[in-house]
Amino acid sequence: MFGQRIRRVEDPRLLSGRGRYLDDLGHDALAVAFVRSPHAHARIVDIDVSAALAVDGLVAIYTYDDLDGRTSEPLPLLIPHPTLNQGRTPYPLADGEVNHVGEAIAMVVASDRYVAEDVVGLIQVEYEPLPPVVGLAASRDGDALVHADVPGNVAATMVQEVGDAAAAIAAAAHRATLSLSIERSASMPMEGKGVLARWDADDESLLVHTSTQSSTSVRQAIAAKLSIPVDRVEVVTPDIGGGFGVKIVHPWPEEILVPWAARRLGQPVKWVEDRREHFISSAHERGQLHEVEVGYDDDGRLCGLSVRFWHDNGAYTPYGLIVPIITSTQLLGPYKPGAYRVEFQSMYTNTVIVTPYRGAGRPQGCFVMERVMDAIAADLGIDRAVVRERNFIQPAEMPYDHGLMFQDGRPLVYDSGDFPASLAKLKALVGWDEFDSFRAAARAEGRRVGIGLGCYVEGTGVGPYEGGHLRVETDGSVVVSTGLTSQGQGHQTMLAQIVADELGVEMERVRVTTGDTRRFKYAVGTFASRTAVMSGSAVALTARKVRAKALKIAANALEAAVDDLEIVDGQIRVKGSPGSEIDLGSVAVLSNPLRYAFDAGAARATQFAGPVDPTAPPVPEGEQPGLEGTDYYSPVGSTFANGMHAVVVETDPETAEINILRYCVVHDCGTVINPMIVEGQIHGGVAQGVAGALYERMEYDDAGQLLNASYMDFLMPYASEVPHIEIDHLETPSPLNPLGVKGAGEAGVIPGSAAIAAAIEDAEGFAITTMPISPSQLFDLRRRHCER
């Protein structure tokens, strides 16, 4: 199964309308809608609900004053960091002040969503507007403050340095400075967030369904906030309609408020985010400004690199500094920077919070580093691919320690990769060496074409751990669970492939559950391209454990030595001796000595069913009943996948329309479990990379209003915009885990802006320093360069 293009087991349900997403559940539940701030920054003077109280179907209206116990405290700061000394998180409902358009102020519970929305419209909130801080320039000015007690709007300043970058740059033969910026975009899954909570008053327990990337942590957070013993709370993820990072943040205000209201009202309560809410009250990412100084020798080799950047973290910092830390470390890509210094400031603005979106800071870092490579090549007149080759970390240098601390608090050490081989594959795939003549021929026809490269390294499989549980049922079926969640990546298929191989059963017999705390309590979550590495390794280790137990029981039953046995298609048999075999279901029966014959199979394990050894206990010492096992995987450090993209663009000489002619990808995620799934991850990532380079941006006006908060105005690409994608793979297995896998979820998105900017630059002949870029922006750039 491993390595094969296996069809996804999830699909028949999803294709026939039988998927069950959050909003497909809880038709008996009360509906929730929120009063959300129309101001980017304001004091709340008064909330008047009197006009709303007569609405038929209204159940309750809650404001901050109704919150009790720990629900009235700010939401948790999920990832504290020693340099984040001005971390701020919101209250579930605003306590007297709002800091971005969309912040929740009042919660309405009603018989259905139509009624709840009507009530929202009748609640009068009086505001005293405060000066809004919008964009990094206003934030850095510090004339107005987002939080009155945070001087200069600076949440954190962090510096890492290896060697003396300033000295190395000063001593270098050549120097360059660059100013590079990237605008905001967002994960924008097709399904927004949503929460359904049921309080069982008799059992004093809470069952919560939520569209999250971390059900175990949501469970702990709800228990803590509602002061309920954690064993009285279970959190289940139904089918999830995409995540891309935005659903790893938790608990969202609604994940606390909905269970809180369900307990208070004694009725099921459900909230489903609408699209506008998702735009203005979930999370964005990418907005950063970078100032770079670089020193290099005559051959284009880096001597020293110094990067200062400013990260727009929005109004609050619940996810800590993860995104800028990733930029600051992953910026280095496949290169040796010489001496390196990086300093960033994480800045408050009166806009939606910023938390990881697929790629999580890497697209910005890759854009910076690849622009540096292209600037060096242009300055020295060296081929852009050659400059990269000269700066690559070589395969013999693996594992390569950069001397920095990564996002998991552990050293930034690359485990594997063959960057020269990847680039050679990419050059062959795209026809790099032949492009000069193609460009010249196109120019002769009055066409503008250009080619660009983008290389990246992606820390994947981040710890601390994941686990797996596996049980063989007495009918021979295999049930597997892991605690992290799925948002459409095909985890059930991929994990079943691993289990089928490790255990020796047909894949159809394996059923996998993810993200259900009733089944598995200890987990971290789905982020950082970590499922194949973490849960894949965990279920493999678990399957090996259960296999060993099965062989032990079977050896006894077959009167054979364990080493002589094999498991093929669920049958345990003596190698090379057909006829003597026992199926896994029967082994499962034997593993559980019984008193009661509740079915025909069970009768075989009851106390009078066969001869007994009166000197031994029915369950052997040191064993447990049942053919099942649990194991965990916790690596010392992250795996590091890598890849390289090449893009060919054509720009219209008159309209400045930007058209992608070819998009080529070479990708190394270690060993590939299911090529079809990996390709799908790359395709989806590339589509988001192209979107971030050419189409998507968050258009805030100076007042902090998000002007394009709908699918009508936010230009998410359709099939008419995303180009055909050509892929080649290189497999350098990771030495860190039992499967050799490295993770593939985010990779495709990372070098999009870098490669497309380079291609446009090549076509146009002037530097591209700001992404995304629209035809009208390109048109303006042309005019400015003509005027010079």
Partner: protein, 166 residues
């Protein structure tokens, strides 16, 4: 008000429908047919695409009352998990499903395309699907699926459950 309509070949009499209610809401909340998805409520994403008298529409933009006396076909009416339509089978074979939230709308839209044009070229496929947003797949394998479905359906034609007058 009462709305009497035929959905997936079955007659429904639905009471207490509010005049402002969408067809999507009625299908999902009152008829137990949650296959059609709600992702934007403004006709931009196509996740709620259904047939109304044989024409694909965004069910979020059609008032429930407008379905009165007419034929509606949803993704549930094209094929079940046990008996998938060739379009659905092609989506599996090509790996064209990831999170699945946009998929029901794309199945209906693809079904409509191949009914009108059994042999679309790539530009025609991209144009026909340009009202359906997908955030997961980058569309590459969806295009593969449409081409595959076109092949298999030309080789073995199937009944058309869309409710179109033929």
């Amino acid at each position: 008000m009462r709305v009497t309509t035929t959905v997936n070949g079955e007659r429904y009499d639905v009471d207490d429908v509010w005049e402002g209610e969408s067809l999507l809401y009625m299908l999902r909340e009152r008829m137990g047919l949650p296959g059609s998805k709600n992702a934007c409520e403004q006709g931009e994403c196509g996740s709620c695409t259904v047939y109304l008298d044989g024409l694909p529409v965004c069910a979020c933009l059609v008032a429930a009352g407008q379905a009165g006396g007419r034929q509606v076909t949803t993704v549930e009416g094209l094929g079940s998990a046990e008996d998938l339509h060739p379009v659905q089978q092609a989506f599996i074979a090509a790996g064209a499903v990831q999170c699945g939230f946009c998929t029901p709308g794309l199945i209906v839209q693809t079904h409509d395309l191949l009914r009108r044009d059994p042999h679309p070229d790539d530009a025609e496929i991209r144009e026909a699907l340009a009202g359906n947003l997908c955030r997961c797949t980058g569309y590459e394998k969806i295009l593969d699926a449409v081409r595959l479905a076109a092949e298999t359906m030309s080789a073995a034609p199937v009944d058309d459950p869309s409710g179109a007058a033929s």
